[in-house]
């Protein structure tokens, strides 16, 4: 116990004068030490590459129908062929290509949803935390309201009313998820504002711009990046869930949720229609959860020690 404490203290004293590049190097070393972080980031990278490169690597058209080759099993099953490695669906569309293209929908929803939620939540939460008092009370009330509701139920409710479109899904998640970011931002801003280092900066004559950008923002980034990773994973889940209920993007778009909704109809006879999109969701979500865990431990120095 004691042997661990001393290097840790030296560590945090050094970090006072650490520059950005040193920090990056330090993060890299910490990443390397924690294999699950490496695995998680690699998994995310694979999904991002799949989404970006899908139209450029000679995949078959995910929308092209070929009724002559419908419901083919995956290549390694009897009756399968390597022309369609994951097999085909009831309209003869190539499942491999559809699964890869599905990453585009999921990542788009996850990325834009989180960006909107984080932007909204940070502004609102920062205002509440920084000014406090009546403004704080006015903002925290609605936040607590939304956070105490059965979330999934309301998302389904709203999606059923608004109808199927990519923009609707992004907006729904972006707006309904912002209270979480607001709550975390508010708490962090409150904590930082009351901290000794801000107090000493103020008494040393620092102006508000310096306090916000030199002291508050850098300390906010860690918790918010961690939160964003988990929330993105959750949004990808929820998007697929909505698609499964027929409430997400239009049925013509190859998304994992839509593929599952179709696969469900043929579960016992053509199970591969269900298997691959589900595995894709699991892979993505696992990558994000692993990275999120790692980020949380690395960005929060108080947890760094417990990790080893």
């Amino acid at each position: 116990m004691a042997g661990e404490t001393i290097p840790h203290q030296a560590d945090s004293m050094l970090s006072m004068r650490r520059t950005f590049r040193d920090r990056l190097g330090y993060l890299g070393r910490l990443l390397w030490r924690d294999r699950s972080g490496v695995i998680g980031l690699t998994m995310i990278l694979v999904v991002i590459l799949a989404a970006l490169l899908a139209p450029h690597v000679g995949l078959q058209d995910p929308l092209a129908q070929n009724l002559g080759e419908s419901r083919m099993p995956p290549a390694w099953n009897a009756g399968g062929s390597w022309d369609h490695p994951f097999g085909t669906d009831s309209l003869g569309r190539d499942l491999f290509s559809r699964t890869i293209y599905g990453a585009r929908v999921s990542l788009t929803v996850g990325l834009f949803g989180v960006v909107i939620a984080a932007a909204l939540g940070m502004v609102v939460g920062a205002i509440a935390g920084y000014f406090g008092g009546r403004i704080d009370a006015l903002i925290t009330g609605p936040i607590n309201l939304i956070l105490s509701m059965p979330y999934l139920l309301f998302v389904v409710f709203i999606a059923a009313i608004l109808g199927r479109s990519l923009l609707n899904v992004i907006l729904i998640f972006g707006i309904t998820d912002s209270p979480i970011f607001a709550r975390v931002t508010r708490g962090e801003v409150l904590r930082i504002r009351e901290s000794a280092y801000v107090e000493s900066a103020v008494s040393a004559g620092a102006r508000w711009g310096r306090i916000i950008f030199d002291h508050i923002v850098p300390n906010l980034i860690g918790p918010l990046i961690t939160l964003a990773t988990f929330e993105m994973s959750a949004m990808i889940f929820y998007e697929a869930g909505l698609g499964f209920l027929g409430l997400s993007v239009p049925p013509t778009v190859p998304s994992w949720g839509n593929m599952l909704a179709e696969g469900r109809k043929y579960l016992s006879s053509y199970p591969w229609l269900t298997t691959f999109p589900g595995l894709a969701i699991m892979f993505t979500s696992m990558g994000m959860n692993l990275s999120g865990d790692w980020l949380r431990d690395v960005l929060d120095p108080r947890l760094r020690r417990a990790r080893r």
Partner: protein, 306 residues
């Protein structure tokens, strides 16, 4: 304690009013609830007649007041599909959903707490790695997909459990397992990190240096302090299970509130959707209140305002 309870109760009532306001106005954000609820083939005259019958042509304030006063006495209007009051339909589905969530929670506790305790007490051990992997799986597997796969393997192929319905005693096993898995991973992670935290507290070191038996330390000091955050996680998760079983109930044709919700959306039966949403919120808010109370009973720091 009473003051604490009353302030929490007041907050819950305010939140409930907020939920009802949201549920009311959400149906009207598209501008025309009548065309939302009618099928696309309905003629303009039919829509107009429906609007008249539902009272959608009255001033918004009057409609809102009627909705609030109606809801206060349990009147959420008639279900469009069944043509009967919505709330009794929802209540009729409650036992099935509570059974599912209850069994699911039990499974989650049985898996999550022991693995979390073992992992927290021996971090890095083989059992800890297994536990953390199960935790990761539970977090990363989409429950609607797992539900399909388990149904395929254990019901369709192996025939061990019924594939759907609630007719047999074993019907609950598959849906409850799927529902419980995500929760068990929450409970596992929570238990593990709390044990890790408590273990390095000063009072544990004191207990060790007093020469207490390790068993006494674990039972008396560690477990008791782990119980406090667990209570709150369990309360929150049970609420989540009541509202979040929509996919699982839909897939296993489990006759609970989630299945009704999915059906109601398909029928465009929005009065029923509204009743379901508000009722579930009431249950969740009540659960949160109970959890807060249990928390305050267990942790005196909260009772006395820190």
């Amino acid at each position: 304690m009473l003051r604490y309870f009353l302030s929490k109760l007041a907050l819950s009532i305010v939140l409930l009013l907020g939920v009802m306001t949201l549920a009311f106005f959400m149906l009207r954000v598209t501008g025309d609830p009548a065309s939302l609820m009618m099928s696309r083939e309905a003629s303009p005259e039919q829509i107009e007649a429906f609007r008249e019958a539902m009272g959608f042509n009255r001033p918004l304030g009057v409609q809102f007041w009627d909705f609030l006063t109606g809801a206060a006495v349990g009147d959420f209007g008639n279900s469009l599909h069944y043509g009967s009051p919505a709330l009794p339909l929802v209540l009729g589905r409650l036992p099935a959903t509570v059974e599912l969530a209850g069994v699911g929670l039990l499974m989650a506790l049985v898996v999550g707490i022991p693995l979390g305790l073992v992992g927290g007490l021996n971090p890095g051990s083989a059992l800890d790695s297994i536990g953390r992997f199960i935790g990761l799986l539970g977090q990363s597997i989409p429950n609607f997909w797992l539900a399909l796969i388990l149904m395929l393997v254990f019901a369709v192929r192996l025939g061990l459990f019924p594939a759907f319905g609630r007719d047999e005693l074993t019907s609950v096993v598959l849906p409850a397992f799927v529902l419980g898995l995500a929760v068990s991973s929450q409970i596992l992670r929570m238990t593990r990190s709390t044990v890790l935290e408590v273990r390095s507290e000063d009072y544990i070191r004191t207990a060790h240096s007093k020469g207490l038996q390790p068993r006494t330390i674990y039972l008396k000091h560690v477990l008791r302090n782990v119980a406090i955050p667990l209570v709150s996680v369990i309360g929150v998760q049970f609420g989540y299970m009541l509202g979040g079983s929509i996919y699982i109930e839909a897939i296993y044709a489990w006759p609970g509130m989630g299945q009704l919700l999915q059906q109601a959306i398909g029928w465009r039966d929005f009065p029923l959707v509204q009743a379901l949403t508000v009722f579930t919120s009431v249950v969740v808010l009540t659960l949160n209140l109970v959890t807060d109370m249990a928390y305050a009973l267990l942790d005196p720091r909260i009772r006395y305002g820190r």
